[in-house]
């Protein structure tokens, strides 16, 4: 094992190497920081935090030397989506309007990771306020997918967690945090060939995460293996009195749930996820995934989720409505950008007109409209009722099956700049991921194959509320059968 390749280790392997004394947390962290520097061109990070990282790595080594290693994540480098507030460290949400914002507090998820000994190496790029499916809406510019197109063209990594997924896919570091409001962990995981999980709403605290749509937002892990995702989620999750929507229930041992045995598992195939115009190779991979699980003793059952086609339009009422309310706090008074005006209202309007990018302005305007007098019942209440219908569909399906299998996204990664003039075409990237957010359910994307251009495609499993354990067990079975071993062009920042 050469020191320059430590950044390519999985969490599980790095854990073993640290425990055996093969290398130190400082060695491991330095390798990741070097890979991040070498990979600057990918634009995965908005801020690198080498001083903090090395300080925490040294503390980890000291704990281990004293026989007090904190657990599986002690000394493991992790990249943090720049939507998590980090004490004293620039936090931007990839928006101009948060220029220079240095939170005076730490988000609960990143605090939990710190307490578990994880080492933050930097804050990753994302779509502005997590609104996007390509990372193209970031004030800090697009992120390059470590995979490239058939003709060498640069591709998007998906979004909104584009920097986090790229850091993991390019082997800059073993794992990263993301957030998923409509697919922002699972869709990029699919487009970049890594594992991404959105836990059940309430599994992770939302405290200190820059809010987008509060009834949908949930933090989750990116990693290169299902086992690693289970380890990282274990370090992120847990009840938090500071978030009244975080679930006051125990966090099970997710890694221990990976038993390798899925005999008798009932897997539902939702008929309505067969979409017109979906590439044949995605349909074929979906069929193959069902066969892989069947071969390991699972029972495959057709199920119906009749309101599936209404999930995306319902989402594009609910999410902008909640965003318009959450983003009201960016007023040029308390933090970030201020653009002066003749009076207070002018100052607000100038600040928000200049500080928000086009997609954020669009969503705040839509949200304001659907919540405004005379339209609230027609749009917002209607969407919340449709959401009840969607939740009922899932509840009924889970009477007969334990997990649902579908593609994660309707397409592979696409070129940087594509779909930018057609918001609805971009929104369709989340057609398979949004329903789980509307119903609060856990979902995981596992890399399962390559398309005709050699680009990764993921399969998604969705489970019952708070049953991430079954999801990890099923995802592991999928992962082993798929044996996904293809590598992107950019590795460890080198390409």
């Amino acid at each position: 094992m050469t020191a320059s390749k430590l950044n390519e280790l999985t969490i599980a392997d790095a854990r073993g190497g640290l425990a055996a004394g093969d290398f130190s947390a400082v060695d491991l962290t330095q390798a990741c920081l070097d890979a991040a520097e070498a990979g600057r061109d990918l634009n995965a990070f908005i801020t690198l935090t080498p001083d903090i990282a090395l300080e925490r790595a040294r503390a980890s080594d000291a704990r281990r030397k004293a026989g007090n290693a904190a657990g599986s994540l002690d000394g493991i480098p992790v990249a943090v989506k720049d939507l998590f507030c980090t004490d004293g460290v620039l936090t931007t949400a990839a928006s101009h309007i948060l220029d220079g914002f240095h939170p005076a507090y730490e988000s609960t998820v990143t605090q939990n990771l710190m307490d578990a000994g994880a080492v933050m190496i930097g804050k990753t790029n994302l779509d502005e306020f997590a609104m996007g499916s390509s990372n193209m809406t970031s004030f800090y510019g697009p992120v390059k997918n470590p995979w490239v197109g058939a003709n060498g063209e640069d591709l998007v990594p998906g979004g909104s967690s584009g920097g986090s997924v790229t850091a993991v896919a390019a082997r800059i570091c073993p794992a990263a945090t993301g957030t998923d409001t409509g697919g922002s962990i699972r869709q990029p995981a699919s487009l970049c060939g890594v594992v991404g999980m959105k836990p059940t709403y309430g599994r992770c605290s939302r405290w200190g995460i820059v809010a987008f749509a509060s009834s949908l937002d949930q933090a989750g892990p990116f990693a290169r293996t299902v086992r690693d995702a289970a380890i990282l989620l274990g370090g992120m999750a847990g009840h938090d009195p500071k978030d009244s929507t975080s679930a006051p229930i125990d966090v099970p041992g997710f890694e221990a749930a990976i038993t390798g045995d899925i005999r008798g598992l009932r897997v539902g195939i939702p008929a309505e996820y067969t979409m017109d115009g979906m590439p044949a190779e995605i349909q074929a991979l979906w069929d193959q995934g069902a066969q892989w699980l069947k071969n390991q003793g699972a029972e495959i059952k057709p199920v119906s989720l009749p309101h599936t086609k209404y999930a995306l339009p319902a989402y594009y009422i609910v999410a902008p409505a909640e965003a318009s309310s959450n983003l009201a706090r960016y007023d040029g008074v308390r933090y970030g950008l201020r653009v002066d005006g003749d009076n207070l209202d002018d100052m607000y309007a100038n600040t928000r007109g200049e500080g928000f990018g086009a997609e954020v302005r669009r969503r705040v305007l839509i949200g304001t409209y659907v919540l405004s007098a005379g339209y609230y019942d027609a749009y917002y209440m209607k969407a919340q009722k449709v959401r009840t219908r969607i939740l009922e569909d899932f509840t009924k399906a889970f009477e007969d099956v334990d997990v649902l299998l579908s593609p994660t996204a309707p397409n592979a990664a696409f070129p940087i700049g594509a779909k930018m003039d057609d918001p609805i075409a971009m929104y369709l990237n989340d057609v398979f991921t949004v329903p789980a957010n509307l119903a609060g359910l856990p979902g995981i994307s596992v890399p399962a194959g390559l398309d005709k251009d050699g680009l990764p495609l993921g399969l998604q499993l969705v489970g019952r509320p708070f049953d991430e354990a079954t999801l990890f067990r099923a995802a592991d079975a999928l992962e082993r059968a798929a044996g996904f071993s293809a590598l992107p062009k950019y590795l460890g920042g080198q390409g």
Binding site: A104, R334, L344, V364, L365, K382, T388, R389, G440
Partner: protein, 95 residues
């Protein structure tokens, strides 16, 4: 329903987002494309359906109404674009 320039002007004011005069019509078109698309929800029969109030079966917890975190005004206002001592400073509101 369809938004015109005046609707966009009104919504932009409610949202406190400056939309330049020459952008009102293009923004109206963008918003109409999205509104037209979400209106397919009208097809769903929601008679007698309650709007969702929460996605998990958990009830909201109660806590004591007490101050648990305070006493560092300098950190609280530390990110303000403009401040006077421990206060946020804003343009004059009352003449």
């Amino acid at each position: 329903m369809s938004l015109d320039k005046e609707d966009v002007r009104r919504v932009a004011f409610l949202a406190r987002i400056r939309v330049p005069e020459d952008a009102l019509a293009p923004v109206a078109q963008e918003l109409n494309n999205i509104i037209d698309w979400v209106e397919q929800l009208a097809e769903v029969d929601t008679d007698g359906v309650e709007p969702i109030t929460g996605v998990t079966a958990l009830t909201a917890p109660m806590r004591k109404d007490q101050v648990t975190d305070a006493g560092y005004p300098n950190r609280v206002v530390g990110n303000a674009p403009d401040r006077v001592e421990d206060f946020y400073a804003v343009p004059k509101v009352v003449d």
